[in-house]
């Protein structure tokens, strides 16, 4: 029995046998088995697409009086057409060094890993800032990189590209902690209306609505607190107007200004 040393996944191949009479040819691999009745001494042809999964295949030729064994390898096509791209995290604060990781597995048409060194281009782009580009060569079929999150919030496109094949992920860059949190106070009937300035992080990005801002009033040993979510970029609340009361504002672990109410 004469076997090919290697077969490229999806391509045609043939197996030549010796002798005469009838026999059965088995080709057994990972997740795939071919069985064919053959005439000994003739060549068995296998059409393109017969074997697609890379790996070692065992060949058994079972005749009436004897059995022959052999093996050959099916290898990837070396033409990258699919990428498995893992990008983490999908959401992170702005201005984080090495905060984004990307890992790529380069695959052929039949999703076999291409183990030979292949250059992969990673590109992280934000519409309002510069593009970060890294070129990494795969090692055993995988390539990875790290990127910084930019100072601008927004939805970044993270693209891994090998030749014509590419895969895209989105990475949401969200504002960091509030910075310079400031409120103002105004009399509103029997109450004091406390309103924050538009709340932004240290890079000037608007803190998203729903973020909790805590207003506290301290007066004569008593305290009142309201956790108010941002709405349209600001938070506002009404608390009792008492002369000598102190109002403070905070968000998370960030403190804002204090106002002493004297009327």
């Amino acid at each position: 029995m004469r076997l090919p040393t290697t077969v490229e996944a999806g391509s045609a191949f043939s197996i030549q046998s010796a002798g005469n009479g009838q026999a059965t040819l088995y080709i057994v691999g990972l997740g795939q088995v071919l069985k064919r009745d053959v005439l000994l001494g003739e060549t068995a042809f296998f059409s393109p697409g017969s074997l697609i999964s890379a790996g070692r295949y065992l060949v058994v030729l079972a005749g009436v009086s004897s059995t022959q064994n052999g093996s050959f390898d099916v290898v990837s096509t070396h033409k990258p057409t699919n990428l498995s791209f893992l990008a983490k995290p999908s959401r992170l604060p702005v201005g984080l060094r090495d905060g984004i990781t990307g890992a790529v597995y380069v695959l052929d048409d039949y999703h076999n890993l291409i183990a030979s060194p292949t250059p992969v281009s990673f590109e992280l782009s934000n519409p309002s800032s510069t593009v970060q580009k890294h070129l990494v060569v795969t090692h055993n079929g995988a390539a990875w990189t790290v990127m910084d999150s930019t100072a601008q919030q927004g939805i970044d496109k993270f693209v891994a590209r090998v030749g014509d094949a590419y895969s895209t992920r989105v990475v949401a860059q969200v504002p960091g902690d509030p910075c310079g949190l400031k409120m103002t106070a105004q009399q509103s009937g029997q109450q004091v209306r406390l309103v924050t300035d538009p709340v932004r992080d240290c890079s000037g990005n608007a803190i998203p609505d729903g973020t909790v801002v805590t207003f506290t009033e301290k007066y004569n040993g008593a305290q009142s607190t309201v956790d108010e979510p941002l709405k349209n970029g600001i938070a506002e609340v009404e608390l009792s107007a008492r002369s000598g009361a102190t109002f403070s504002v905070a968000s998370g672990i960030v403190m804002g200004n204090q106002i002493r109410w004297e009327k």
């Binding site: 999908s90 959401r91 609505d209 909790v212 979510p229 709405k231 968000s251 998370g252």
Partner: protein, 375 residues
Amino acid sequence: MNNGRLFAALLGAVTVALVAIGTVWPAPSAAAYSGVGNMLRSSSTPEAAVENLGEEIRKQAWEKAYGSLANRAQFTETEFVKDLTGYYPSLLTYTTLDRFEVRPLHASANEAEMELKLHWATVVGLSVSTRDLHVVRNGDRWEPEWPIVRESIVPPQVIAVNYLRWDVIYRGSGDDWGSQDVEAPHVRIVDMHPVDRAEGVVILGELLNEDVVPAYVSVSATLLSKNQSPIATEGSFDRIDHLLLPKQVTPFLIQFHNVALSEVGSIRMTPLSALIAASADPVIEIGSEQLHPAPGATLTGQLINQSGQIVNVAHVLGTFYNKSGQVVWVADQYVDQALAPQTPVPFEIHIPEDLARNVSSQRTVVATYSFGGFQ
């Protein structure tokens, strides 16, 4: 040997006789609790009159309880029942009275003041409410007057609410394994330290949602011995606000019973966070908070629902700090009354006496639950 058999036979005979007597002539309290009798007695004294009222409330015999009141003309039976079980669905709506205590405060020939302490068995534990009753003599009977508290009813109306809400769509089951999924919220423990208490080790701390999305959170801790072998693992259970909006902070308390801090080498903290659909509504103002020093140290205040949605159950968590800003205790209270819009509801959190002297400031958060979930 014979004496022993004789004693055993005698003991058996006495037991059978006592069981028979108990069955034929049961004690009034046993009969009442088995549902075949009652513990009511003649209202010939102020105590007896209030005890009878407490017993009827325990049995939810509202008609009889209402009928026994001297001032029943001032309110309807429905108002009386609502006063006890809540005008809106709340913890008390689905509870029963476990027991009650009656304590005389003042008595004269024709009038008396009695304290009725009601111990309600709610789904989150015991809830105690106290009412001071004026009791009046009517011939040879005493009749209590019920101190009715009418909750203000919110008039029917439509309230526009435009607070943000978040929904979550996870990746589909058919997606490739490398496909992105939505990121779990990023949370951080911003304070944590263990305290040695008589009942065991207690871990106190605070957890911050530093993300821009709401998070369902919980914290668990594993105590490790000095040779790094695990001693025990516990979670914060309900001593935490499980729903954190962006940049919100919750205290947490984890209890390890029967473990001494001297046995502990290190502690492994595990904060858990998951995305959750949530609404920024309702907003609760915590007003008039006041720390009352020992003895009987408490934090009192009132909750004011600033939104349009009725909050059926409110869970108040108080974080207490010392002068240097370190957490010294976390205590909580479930409010057994629903929070109607703009209606103040009081709360009172007890602080352990020995720790109260170290408390110099506090921060309070409220976890809210509305029947029917988020709307």
